[in-house]
Amino acid sequence: MRRTRVCVIRRGSWSLRFSRRALAAGMGCFLAALALGILVIGSGDYPMSAGDVLRTLAGGGTRPETFIVNNVRLPRVVTALLAGAALALAGAVFQTLTRNPLGSPDVLGFTQGATAGALLAIVVFGADSGALAGGAVLGGVATGGLIYAVVWPRGLHGYRLILVGIGTAAILTGFNGYLLTRAQITEAARATLWLTGNLNGRGWEDVLPLAVAMVVLVPLVLLGLGRPLRLLEMGEDTARVLGVRVERLRTALLVAAVLLTAFAAAAVGPVAFVALTAPHLARRLTRTPGPNLAVSLCMGAVLLVGADWVAQHAVPGRELPVGVVTGLLGGGYLVGLLAAERRAGRI
C-alpha cells in the first residue's frame, strides 16, 4: 500500500482531513458533471453551443433560448445531477454498512418499496405525477421502517441487513408484479415507464423536494457521519474503542440513505445501477480505502447526466428512458471490470 498524501485543514478543534488524490478525483468529477450538464442543456432539437448555454444561464439569452433553457432543459439536467448524486451517496453508504460490494438499494429492497408505493398510487388511485412521487417516498420510507423493525432487536449489522433486505425485496417484487397484472394496460405502460426510470418532461416541481432533502441530508452524511463511518469500516470493536456509538451511527446512516433513495426515486423513478457502480468507480479513481462518500456523490451526478445524454441520442428520433441506458452501461461496466480483474488475477 502506497502512502497517500494527505492534507489537513484545521480550525480550532475542528479539522478536515483528505487525501490529495481523492480531492483531485472529486473536483474532476464535479467539473465533469457540470460540463456534461452544459452539454445536455445545449443538445436537443434546438442546439445551442456551450457559450450560448452559459450566456443564457447568466441571464443574457434571447427569449426562445431563455424559455427553453429555464423551463425545459435546466430542470431536467438539475434533476439528473441531484438524483444521480443522491443515489450514489446512498449506494456508498449501503455498501459500507453492509460490507458488501453489491449492497445497493436495489438489492436491499428499498427500491422495490418505492416502486410499490408508486404503483399503488398509479394503479389503485390513478394518480398524477405529484401523488406518484409522494407514493414513492412513502413506499421507500415504509420499507426502510419495516426492515429496520425486523433487524433492530438483534442489532443492525451488515449481514442481517442484507438478508432481511433481500427477503423484503422478494416479497415486494411479487406484490408489484401482482399490481401490474391488475392494472389497465395504459396504466401498466405508464407504470413500467416510471419503473425503468426516466427524465422526460421533468420540471422544477420534480426538482424541489429532492433538492430540499439533499440540502438537509448531504451535509449530514458527508460531514457528520463520514468520519465515524470510516472508523466503522475498520470493524465494530475497533470503532467502539475509538468512541463511535455504533448502533446509533448505523441507524442514522440507514435513515439518511433510505430517504435519499426514496426522494431520488420519486424524482426520476428507480434508476438501475447508479447506486451500485458510482462507489466502485469512485474507489478506482481515488485509490483510497474507505467509503469515498464525496467522490461517489459527484460520480453519481456524472453517471446520470451522461446516461441522459446517451438516452437522448442513442436511437435517432426516439428517446430512450434513462434507466435503460444506466442498466446497459452499468451492466457492461461491471462485466468489463470483472474481465479486467480476472486478467490482473486479482479476484
Binding site: G167, I185, L328
Partner: protein, 355 residues
Amino acid sequence: MSLTHPQRSDRKRPVAPPGPAPAGERSHNGARAAGLACAFVLLVLVCLLSVVVGARHLPPLVVWHGLLDSASDSATVVREMRLPRTLLGLLAGTALGIAGGVMQAITRNPLADPGVLGINAGASASVVTAISALGVTTFDGYVWFAFLGAAVVSALVYVVGGGSGATPARLALAGTAIGAAVYSYVNAVQLLDTASLDRMRFWTVGSLAAAQTDTAVKMAPFVALGGITALALASSLNALALGDDMARALGVAPATTRAVAMAAVTLLCGAATAACGPIVFVGLAVPHMVRAVTGPDLRWLLAYCTVLAPVLFLGADVLGRILARPAEIQVGVMTALLGGPFFLALVRRNRTVGA
C-alpha cells in the same frame, strides 16, 4: 482495487467423516430420516389438496370419480386442469428447491437464488423477444424460448465469472451485472412495444394457471436429469464447502464440480422458469429454512429441499386459488407473500440462518 470488501470469514462447515458414523451422528441421522418421512407425508397431502381445491367446488368423491372415468364435466376439470397443474407445481417446486440449495453451495453465498445467476433475466429476455419480434402467444411457445434464454445467459455468467476458475464472489457479481443489463433490454422492449408488455406482465408474475399435461411431460426429463445430477454431487459439494484446497485434498476437483453443478442448476431453473415464469423466493428461502433443521450437510439439505420446496410451492398455489375465488392470485405472488414473512421471522429469530 479489489471488488470485495473484507468479509467475515465463513465458519468452517463440518463434513461427515468417511466410514461408519459415530453413535451420536447415527441418532441424528435417524431423526433426520424421520423428519424427511414426515415431510413426504406433507407433500402427498398438499398434492391431494391441489387436485381437490379449485375455482369450482367439487366434493372429493367427485374428484376421485373424475380421475377414473372421463365422461363427465368434472372429469375434464380434474384431468385437464388440476392434475397437470399439480404435476407441474411438483416438478417446478422440486427443481427450484434443489437448484437453490446447490447454488448457495457453489457460490458459497447463502443469498444465491435463480435470480442471482441471471437465469430469470435470460428467460425473461428470451420470452419478451419471442413475443415482440416473433409474435409467439402460446404458453407452449414460451417454454422453449425461456429455456434457451436461461441456458445462454447462465452460460455467459459462468464464463464471465471465470469459467473453470470461477470463484463464488465473481459468479455472484457476474450474475448481478449481466442480469441487470439483460433486464434493461427487457424493459426497453416492453416500453417500445406495449403489446409485449401486456403479455409479459402476466408471465413475469409466475403462474401455474396455464399448465398443460404436455408441458409437465416435456419438463420432467430436464428436472429429473438436473435433480439426480445435483443429488449425486452432494458429497463433492460438501467437500467444496471447506475451500478449494481442502476439497482437492479430499479428492474432489473444484472446477469440474462447479461446472457440472452449474449445468444441473441451469437445467432445473430453466425448466421451472420456462414452465411457470420467474418465481422468486422458493429457491432462496427453502434451503435457508431447511438448513435450520438439517445443518449444513448438503446430502440431507438437498433431500429435504426436494420434498419441502414443492410443499411450499403447491401450498402457495392452492392458497392463491382459495383466497381469490373464483379468480386466483398467481403462485409467484403467493410464494413471495407467504415465504417472505416466514423467512424474515427466521432471520430475526435465528442467529445461524445463513451466517
